[in-house]
Symmetry: D3
Subunit: 254 residues, 6 copies
Amino acid sequence: MKLLVINPNISTDVTRLIEAEARRSIRPGTELTLATAPFGVAYIETRAEALIGGYAAMQIAAARYAAHDAVVVAAFGDPGLVALREILPIPVVGMTESALVSACQQGSRFSVIAISQRIQAWYRETIAAYGFTDRLASIRALDEPLAHIGRVQEDQGERLVALAERAVTEDGADVLILAGAPLAGLARTVAHRLPVAALDGVTCALHQAQAMVDLAPAVARGGSFAAPPAKDCRGLPEALSRLVGRQPLATQGA
Amino acid sequence: MKLLVINPNISTDVTRLIEAEARRSIRPGTELTLATAPFGVAYIETRAEALIGGYAAMQIAAARYAAHDAVVVAAFGDPGLVALREILPIPVVGMTESALVSACQQGSRFSVIAISQRIQAWYRETIAAYGFTDRLASIRALDEPLAHIGRVQEDQGERLVALAERAVTEDGADVLILAGAPLAGLARTVAHRLPVAALDGVTCALHQAQAMVDLAPAVARGGSFAAPPAKDCRGLPEALSRLVGRQPLATQGA
Amino acid sequence: MKLLVINPNISTDVTRLIEAEARRSIRPGTELTLATAPFGVAYIETRAEALIGGYAAMQIAAARYAAHDAVVVAAFGDPGLVALREILPIPVVGMTESALVSACQQGSRFSVIAISQRIQAWYRETIAAYGFTDRLASIRALDEPLAHIGRVQEDQGERLVALAERAVTEDGADVLILAGAPLAGLARTVAHRLPVAALDGVTCALHQAQAMVDLAPAVARGGSFAAPPAKDCRGLPEALSRLVGRQPLATQGA
Amino acid sequence: MKLLVINPNISTDVTRLIEAEARRSIRPGTELTLATAPFGVAYIETRAEALIGGYAAMQIAAARYAAHDAVVVAAFGDPGLVALREILPIPVVGMTESALVSACQQGSRFSVIAISQRIQAWYRETIAAYGFTDRLASIRALDEPLAHIGRVQEDQGERLVALAERAVTEDGADVLILAGAPLAGLARTVAHRLPVAALDGVTCALHQAQAMVDLAPAVARGGSFAAPPAKDCRGLPEALSRLVGRQPLATQGA
Amino acid sequence: MKLLVINPNISTDVTRLIEAEARRSIRPGTELTLATAPFGVAYIETRAEALIGGYAAMQIAAARYAAHDAVVVAAFGDPGLVALREILPIPVVGMTESALVSACQQGSRFSVIAISQRIQAWYRETIAAYGFTDRLASIRALDEPLAHIGRVQEDQGERLVALAERAVTEDGADVLILAGAPLAGLARTVAHRLPVAALDGVTCALHQAQAMVDLAPAVARGGSFAAPPAKDCRGLPEALSRLVGRQPLATQGA
Amino acid sequence: MKLLVINPNISTDVTRLIEAEARRSIRPGTELTLATAPFGVAYIETRAEALIGGYAAMQIAAARYAAHDAVVVAAFGDPGLVALREILPIPVVGMTESALVSACQQGSRFSVIAISQRIQAWYRETIAAYGFTDRLASIRALDEPLAHIGRVQEDQGERLVALAERAVTEDGADVLILAGAPLAGLARTVAHRLPVAALDGVTCALHQAQAMVDLAPAVARGGSFAAPPAKDCRGLPEALSRLVGRQPLATQGA
């Protein structure tokens, strides 16, 4: 199967981290296409940045999904995920959602370990939107500015492990989620030091994407994830306008 | 005071409806600037279209907010609202949020009357994201294709009134919200026929925007609505990159 | 417009604080009538005192609402608010509800800063009754006996500011609500020292009251906020019995 | 033991129904004092009427609790219940709360059968305030005006049974609560016709009151149900001012 | 009346503690039968052990309920409670449920004091399953290995009292629940030292069991607590197969 | 990899249905062991039967897990799932949980189509225990007695499809779950007739089990899913006593 993995940020360093972990997480016969956002910010830690990243992911997905069996949105917080799921006829998975469903199958409550104080609000709201708040034991986050987003693991690895340990002993976490694409691969290297399972969003997303392709769900013709009703549109990239609109034209209603 | 009213859709017909009701809802001395999305769809009824509209609203707001005291996002569902609130140093209000807080001050539970079946999922999720689900009595919606988004009120007015009446008698609504910018002004004309208060999102948004300017809240320097930490960005309109980024540059981390 | 502002407590000192802030919060042309409860307690910090204050507010409102466009219940915790809303044909707003809806339009989560430990339970239950629990970051409260309810701001101002700062940095508040009529006006004087917007319930209530009068919602003829069905009553003040009852008579059923 | 049973309404007809069922629900050695509100309305079906009834119940309780071991608030909706619980040093139970805890011990979900359409909102909010919403299958109510509150059982008995049956077969109720003091005794007479247990609020309240006296819980010296901190009060009946206040005095702060 | 009290664990030491407190909690004329699980573990602190204990309780109840008026499941966490309630034609009460409903009638929020760190997850999930999470102030637990389950009160009494005090002052508990059958009787001895009511699950269960027998609810013929539809079964103790099955037979469907 | 698939019921007919669908859902190299409960009932539709089935599944799992990489509990409602997860050192998945997490990755809300009216309460409570209630659009169920549990698909297929269609058009389901092991394989045959994706719990469970083995989570040494603290036990099958206990012995504490 062929999977399109989208980094909704502009950091090619992070794309490389994502790709490395993704390649460790696929089965023989699974092929990957990696894509990096052509516009946006270095990494997403706010709702505003998630909106930008979501629209970037949508443009990439619209242009490139056709040759693939599923799409992976590879930023924790899942920018654009449900929007893509509405308009694409193939499965779409996200790092957060995949990590959450994997965590729920291993314990009652999970904690999220995050790379910045500010990013917590966005994560918390994403988790709430999925309806998983009752299973969230805590979010714990680094409280120092990040010198370099591509080297967070090296620079902050020990601090992240310490936060993870406190999530188990003080917050009651049964499972840990090391969150954020910049941490891709970290869980694999520190797992043996942690008292409970530590999940990597990229790993989980790749496994769930492959499971979803295996499951081969029917494309929705009803419900709120059927293709949107055709409507006039303007100014959108051609591939995207084919997915959401009745081609261009003059003013709607004219 | 000066208010920037953004229609996140491309329909200038709808912008005219919004403007007409907005002008009926302002106090002497309040000035309006109306803006229509330069790209996007004719009207928003899905999560995907809301993402597009949200990004269009963000671009307009970034470019034009400076001369204003507050911004109004004038589509029910509030595309981009919280994202704009994070990055702008002035109050930002939305039609849905304004209608909800107005409704909550008049009764225990409200119903939303909507223009299409499909739009209900997006509305329901928006209301849930604000935490108002427990006060939602029902969403009732038209179930016919819309011939012309600028003439929904004329074409479907009677059906909308009938849905509103059932929301009160069958669903237990204390307040009605006639939802969607294409219905701007309808509440005013049908109010006398309905058994409970009927709210118009545009009206509520304008009143709340003026109240927020009067309230003059401090610009956040802390919490999750302070300006996002500066970070590298690329490919964004200049006004937007000033709000979310540390100007362009080469690759982050390079 | 004319607004009736009711202090449901017997403290005329506090009424003066309310009035001063209310006058700073109105527009030209808005007139105020202040009223102080003729019976009750010095300030409300328990459910029992709220019941007494609520009934006092109801008596005042019944007797005096007629010449006004809206009623403001000026105690945090909103004693009697929904009851008044049911029986009066004009808008009724409360300090808590107004502060909550204003806070929700400025951030995701808010904290309440309160004047006593005991008062927290009542506040928490009021916020829950409105359905805003999920947006409550914390309630933080003074833990010393209050020497004089009319001088809390002077005596405890620094401690209140310190609690507010901790609510932002430790509890994740995006907005602060300085709660309780005895604190009326404090937000205005300490706003510049706090990292996020600090709201004053009196200010918010006055702005929301004026917005509600501008909105001019129809008087409910249906739903659970229509006037109560007429029924026999006895022993009530005449103005109140006109609102809730079929005039007196002998025993019901006789 | 001695129990004070308070009807917060003015209807002595209803007090007689309450007394009859209460006498059927006590053990040998339990004595009853019945009291009827000296002011208020014929029966409570709105939040406003509940506030009046709650204050009436508080006055009765303050004046007469001393010679008793527990107090029963005998109106469904429990007007004043938590307020009384705060200020009295003896157990206080309510019809709704007692019926809910009894229902929860017999099944997963319960339905409430009510005497008027309007009364449903108040019941629903009472149940929500106790945190039992998730276990509420439905509220079903008569939809005709009540000719005589003391004869609802005779006039509407068959309709009430029919509503109860539908609550089981259509709404999934495991237990039925026949709600409202005017229905006191009905469950006993129609139980054999219903497919699941049917509870009477008066019966449950009396059983719970006796169980609470047997349990003999300590009077709270901490937490939010300790006696309210003493504070100045004015204009209250003497017995009540002893419970909530530091005796009268001049203006607080004077 | 006759009550069957089941200890779902194998510890006869604990059965003796349960019996002693149960005898202090009954009225003249109430008779007790005590039963100890013939298989299982020494005490239950996990979901797995609760499943074993639940099945043991079911076997005892099936074999011995006939001569009784109600069944008490005497382990905090209520193993098997709802299952027994489905299949037995008499009331079934549990220690946790009884303590929760008693606590809710004395305050808004309660804390649970528990004997081990590990046991907290099971308690928290039990409370959530009953829908009481919103009223749970905290669970506080001992953090040392238990030397002897039958002597926890003597060995850890002071630590338990200290935890209870902190639950009131730091967590906002209005009521305390000293949880776990091994603590049966402790509340009675330490009540005078605690600032709020302290409940013993055994005491509450006995009082609620007697109240339920007094209430004499009808046996459900409908809803989800009617006797399960008869179906083929195999390998069950005879008494149990009479309750859940159509007697044995060969393979279902054969 | 090797998977142990446990049917917690005694129906070998149903085991055959499970096995057939399981074999269609595995990848090359995955091997299956099927096991049928040695005691219990023909199929589970109540909480009591789930307790019996859960204990049967626990005995099978304890005895046979050792040679496998993961365990699948193959009854909708997941009897014993979290208990097994606590005591086994390998992943354990359930049909309900797997179907829920798969559904959540394809839409916002799902409906469950069930084989009997009675079974709905148990399903609803299972879904609530996992925290997925907010995403449940509806449960719709057959309302006729089942002639033969192994032939439900043939006998009731058309009725099940009709229920599924109504769940989409009337209840707002984005995804359908055809629930219950007796329906294993049905989704595959009727998928083309349904407007949205239809999930089979067995299929989902097998895909999730394989994904979990691929993920290879660490065995918990902390949190509430670590192996239970060793304690005395008695009367348990040897394999089970090794998992939950400190071998037998005399009375605990003796």
